[in-house]
Amino acid sequence: MKIGIYLCTCEGEIEKVIDIDSLVKEASGWSGITDVHKDAFLCSEDGIRKIRKDVESSGLERVLIAACSPFFKMEEFSDLGLNKYLVERVNIREQCSRAHRNDPENATKKTKAMLRIFLEKAKYSQPLQPLQLPSLRSALVIGGGVAGINASIDIAETGNEVFLIEKNPFLGGKVAGFHKYFPRMCPPSCGLELMFSKIKSNPNVHVLTSSEIDTISGSPCNFEIFIKTSPRHIDMDKCVLCGKCLEVCPHNAIVYPEGFSYPCIPAINKGLCAVDCNKCVAVCPVDAIDLDEEGKATNIKVGAIVLATGWEPFDPTPLAEFGYGRLENVVTNIEFEKISKEKKISFEEPKKVAFIQCVGSRDERHLPYCSDVCCMVSIKQALFLKEVNPDNEVYIFYNDIRTPGEYEELYQKARRRGTIFIKGIPSELKQDEPQKINFSVFDTVAGKRLDITTDMVVLATGIKPSQGTIDLKEKIGIVLNKNNFVESHIQCYPQDTQRNAVFSAGCCRAPMDVSRSIESAGAAAIKTLQFFNNCTEITPDNPAVNILKCDVCKRCIEECPFKAYSFDEKGFPKSDIMKCRRCGVCMGGCPLAAISLGGLSIEQLSVMLDVFDRSYLGEDEPLILGFLCKNDAYRAVDDAALKGITYPPNFFGIMVPCAGAVNGAIIAKAISTGIDGVLIAGCPDNQCHYIHGSTLAKARLTDISNKLKEMYLEPERVRFISIGRDDPEKFADSIEEYVEELKKMGRNPLRL
């Protein structure tokens, strides 16, 4: 095999510590090496041109670039005239010359060992080709509330097809039922009408109301969705909205739209009808009603999915002390919206209304989180009461008033208009006089007890994830956190759902107000569009299962953080190329070492250990083999070099995609062939980019430690450390400590 090695001195910096010339001489003697060159500025245009010329003229099959860390100058080294998977980057700057700048002799020895290992790795590399998969540029948005509607508009207006599915007969979600929404106290008809007109005028949006999802199958770029639509019983083309059916229906079975609703056609809930009533059929002037209409089943194919399944209001009945359902005129904040909107109670004759905050929210027994909007909702409703008649008496009993940003202005306004805020929650509501509500509350600020009598009490209940969100856990397999909200795990990527091509928008992710829901929907739409644009070229470094070795123990299926594995036609596990995020946790967990990643196989790691010169530091120094995760640990080690932090040259680092990608058989081989210590460095637990890669690596290492103990070897020879992106000092200290401990333990007795 014709291999070329290029050593960069980085304008002479690397050469100050490492004896490059001697390395050039030695490497020239290794078998298979065609060219060994030293260059002062390899990443310059001249340098790259030189490499390209050599590749062409000498017919080089593999190239080793011994220079800076693989995370630098990626663009420059990306096109050298051969497949980029046949180019190996060897980090002799960060990991050798800079890290061991105080020990040039050993730094040179380590560099030689490094070159030898990566040379062997390169020999086993395969020329992988990126794949091209056709992608369906269509999305499914589940949920027709304010988040779902906006996500659909955003996706459609950039020229892509959208299917918007909603289980109710009308779009609009909870916001459609509100009286006003903050901060400008607009009626929802105004905003929603604008949104609906955009949907109506855009042929890319296909709205499916009264519809629910039956099953979802397939994979990103190619999902197949089966949908069940319930019958509306009213012909959408014929109905003229005369309202006669609503007048005659004796069973309240007709759901009538409001002026701004979409679709603006009533729907009949046949479940509430009586048999053989047919009054509506008789009275309809255009014969639009068909009570025998059957439901429909459809299926669609989409490339990506946006979840916008929203929320449900918390039911305060379990908090019996507040008398909801037992006492008259104790209502929830959602019910108050309806009361004020439909003018069921006239607040023009002055009334006394008390609001009680945090009913059910911030409560360990019910919703342990803060529902974000209830303080603003109560202030909005208080301002409404004061506007209708300033003589309305309004009390708000609170724990903490949370009105972030410019909402503070509305809080001040409520106070100035005469709303009385009392810090103290009443313990019990009673009815001592007819049509009144009596309670006694301790004002914690005044230190006094107050006895209050009001006409109405509004319980500020919070936001709970909807049943739709919970159902999707089974249907799509998304991950919900302990409060049943959609969990992304990655702080910088809130729309993520731990499943490729599935994004979350609005309250299904966390309690939020209308503006934030709309922003969140916009973000989800952008992510969907990015997915459509990028998914055509797929990196070929996905894992492959060697079916000759696989025993179908199903550990890979269980442990994959993205549930990308399923069974193929032969009954062996196979990773879906679109669902997979190339973390390698499967490779690390396979008990038979049957899985290999495209760019890093078990065989490669094995031969690397075969040629690793275990006495590169001499016979007395212990050796530590390290596996560094590419997201945090490897970067931190590079950072250490940049900051001038040095650590002993006994440490030898290899980059892996995730700490969870290290297979026990490789560690066993390392120990059994005389390496004194094995270190796995991964992200701190709750920051692992692959959900539980770090946690699994820790657990597996514990098993290996136990095995070492049984073998009468020291269990501390293998260890896991959490290295965050900004922990280079911690890393260097750990290595110093580790080397000391290994010296005390003595050499590995398996060393030959």
């Binding site: 945090c358 360990e364 724990n399 103290g424 019990e428 301790f442 004002d443 914690t444 006094k448 007890r449």
Partner: protein, 143 residues
């Protein structure tokens, strides 16, 4: 013995909603007894004078506060333990000392008049003071 009940970590959960004081029947009569205030003082470590506070003994242990607390804090038990600590430091209301003496001496909290009982045709009630003293002995030993 009571450390199993006393969850020191739980005290940190209190966010001073005041529901315990709102529902407390004693607070209704005597506004100076405020369970939420006592919890706050204990949790910030400023409860040095708590042992001498007569209010500590006003709790009737009705458990309304513990029932209604949104953070599940066992307010009643915390006051219980505060009482125990106060007693160990020698702060105990006169009335309770008197009751303890009566209990030790006669075996009951309310002394019995056997003559009156005899007149009414009832059998005399034995003095159980030795049994009560034995119980106190065992409890002392277990500490």
């Amino acid at each position: 013995m009571y450390n199993e009940f006393f969850d020191r970590e739980k005290l940190k959960y209190c966010y001073q909603c005041g529901k315990c004081s709102s529902g407390c029947d004693i607070n209704r009569i005597d506004v100076s007894f405020q369970p939420h205030r006592l919890l706050h003082l204990i949790s910030i470590g400023a409860a040095d004078n708590l042992m001498e506070d007569a209010g500590l003994w006003k709790c009737t242990t009705c458990f309304t506060c513990s029932e209604r607390c949104p953070q599940g804090i066992k307010v009643t038990e915390i006051l219980w333990i505060a009482r125990t600590i106060a007693v160990k430091a020698g702060h105990i209301p006169e009335l309770l000392i008197t009751q303890k003496d009566i209990l030790l001496r006669t075996g009951r909290l309310i002394p019995m008049d056997n003559k009156k009982r005899g007149k009414a045709g009832l059998t005399a009630i034995q003095e159980e003071s030795s049994v009560v003293a034995r119980i106190f002995e065992i409890v002392e030993k277990e500490k």
